[in-house]
Symmetry: C2
Subunit: 358 residues, 2 copies
């Protein structure tokens, strides 16, 4: 089924209001989720709404957080999210980074005591609107094993860099540091199809194509898949995200990161508070005039679009293009949701006594 | 043959002096190269010395550069390297980043009009000594094709993050954003051995195991190797390095980056000056007290070292450990050089009329 953006947005906002979020927080949290659906990243949009609700029911998400700065220099800060929705904590932190960048050229904010923050791209793009380079990352529930291990030690730990351009849309590099994001796995699970070798390993550390291997004790592999193809680099990137997001902020890191799913309890021996994010903004005109930078970004983009093609019908894809195409399509045709998600949202509506979507 | 560090250092310094570098520059440039050999990254040490000399002979490297800041805010700057050795330009820029971080919490410097800067880790570690997080990247001669293309558009564009720890040595994530670094290819070429599928593609865009495929018009593949295993992520990371290092600084980017080898001429239609770097430093105590951070880094490192092993004899490798092991070994046993490099260095000695190594 397909839903107009405006309906899905109103519905999502109402759920957050019913949880007790303030008007401003409900509006912002809904905006982050809907933006994800609009950009075609279905795994991080309203499909996750019931997950947030269940964590709130377990008192692991605080609907009325007192988000505050706990440590600060002119261009750095640590924010405590007070166990709030990452969907509101991260934009709060990014706003601080942007204000510091306005004044001093750059701003960097580490966040502790937060929860899942949706898509990294949303936060990084806040900076781009101000002619800044945006930077966003977060750690997440442990599903990925480091090279040479079969133990789940890291999340899919995404990192995002976003750059403004001129006549072209921004370049947005928004990527899980694992070989495959969890969303791709879920698609294969629903379709009952094998996944490519190199995405998952079983409990013995052997490649498996079983999309359900994670439930059987398997683990996701870092970007690079195996040592020979650079999985130690994917591990290194994921470690970087974990350290900047959590060791630097005072959040939980590595296998101590609390799981997103409510049926798994957080570790009994936490090393920090909640999960962690790291956000940053740098003013383009801290380095060169904005018009010069944008003109060169356009040359860069054009040149990469013109790169010689292996298949004449498949051009090089500029990072961020697929999301923009989805956004343009869904603005006209609405947001498609799979049946399981619609059922899930209908149950939420019943639980809170608000109007159903379908 | 194996050489004591001190001999190789004196020799290298003499070559730079013979090129006309100042005492301070010759000492610094030699330090960057020797540190690479000490850390076991043989491809970036004295093996490259004759390459720098040949670029200087072609007047593409300026031995007496006027390195200067051309644009600045309290926490950002753009440096023009005046076509100097990247080996001295990058430490100059990193020093500025560190001074800005001392004052304001963080510092970020984009560099244009530079040349090859050696190993990223050297520059990033300058910050670690000051209880800062260090960040270093550079673009490089185009050898890597973006996903869906068979055209060489990007360098192996390394990125490096370095984090101080407590009782453990620093965590240093220093990685080419291609599936395999050029140095690994050179080893296979010398040994006449095939390389794994997923490192290189031929002119048609098909995987090849021929280590000489680059000379036949092939290209290196981004980290991830193919679309299914996330090569678009490797491409995105490489693009990030290219944009931060060069579009932001005013250096050449993408296929316009001048080649390191002197027998290839730089493109006739440059889009900027020289090659570009991007360096940064963030004070740890801009986020939390240094002792707290270091204590948590130690827990992080210990926990990852203790991660369950697939092979009982192969523990998880913490990023930066192999380089430290090489450093400890070579401090005692000296630096091993292959015959071709020794011959190369002997020829340099003759050319400049200084004492030979062997």
């Amino acid at each position: 089924m397909t839903f107009p953006e405006v309906n899905l947005r109103a519905f999502t906002q109402n759920i957050f209001l019913a949880m007790g979020c303030s008007d401003a927080h409900a509006k912002l949290a809904a905006d982050v989720l809907i933006r994800s659906d609009m950009r075609g990243i279905d795994s991080h949009g309203v499909a996750r709404l019931s997950g947030y609700v269940r964590l709130w029911e377990k008192k692991r998400i605080n609907a009325t957080p007192n988000i505050r700065i706990v440590h600060e220099t002119p261009t750095t800060a640590t924010v405590d999210g007070d166990a709030g929705l990452g969907l509101v904590v991260a934009p709060f932190a990014m706003q601080i980074a942007i204000e510091k960048a306005e004044k001093y050229g750059s701003g960097w904010v580490a966040v502790r005591n937060s929860n899942h923050f949706g898509i990294s791209g949303y936060h990084a793009l806040m900076a781009v609107e101000r002619n800044m380079i945006g930077y966003a990352m977060t750690n997440a529930s442990p599903l990925v094993a480091p090279t040479f291990s079969n133990e789940r030690m890291l999340g899919t730990n995404p990192m995002c860099y976003a750059f403004p351009a001129g006549k072209y849309p921004p370049v947005v590099v928004d990527m899980a540091t694992s070989a495959a994001a969890n969303g791709k796995l879920e698609i294969a699970q629903r379709a009952g199809k094998p996944v490519p070798e190199g995405w998952i390993q079983d409990t013995h550390g052997d490649f498996t194509t079983d999309p359900h291997a994670l439930k059987k004790g398997g683990s996701l592999l870092p970007l690079g898949s195996d040592r020979e193809h650079g999985s130690h680099k994917g591990f290194g990137l994921s470690a970087t995200v974990d350290i900047l997001s959590a060791v630097l902020s005072g959040a939980n890191y590595g296998p101590w990161v609390p799981p997103f799913v409510s049926f798994l309890e957080p570790p009994a021996d936490p090393v920090g508070l909640g999960i962690g994010h790291f956000l940053g903004a740098m003013r383009v005109d801290g380095f060169r005039p904005v018009d010069e930078f944008k003109a060169n970004m356009d040359i860069w983009i054009q040149r990469f679009k013109d790169a010689n093609r292996i298949d004449p019908d498949q051009p090089v894809i500029i990072p961020g293009e697929p999301e923009l195409e989805a956004e343009a399509d869904r603005a006209i045709n609405g947001i498609p949701l799979v049946d399981a998600v619609v059922t899930d949202l209908d149950e939420l509506a019943k639980r809170f006594g608000i109007a159903q979507l379908s």
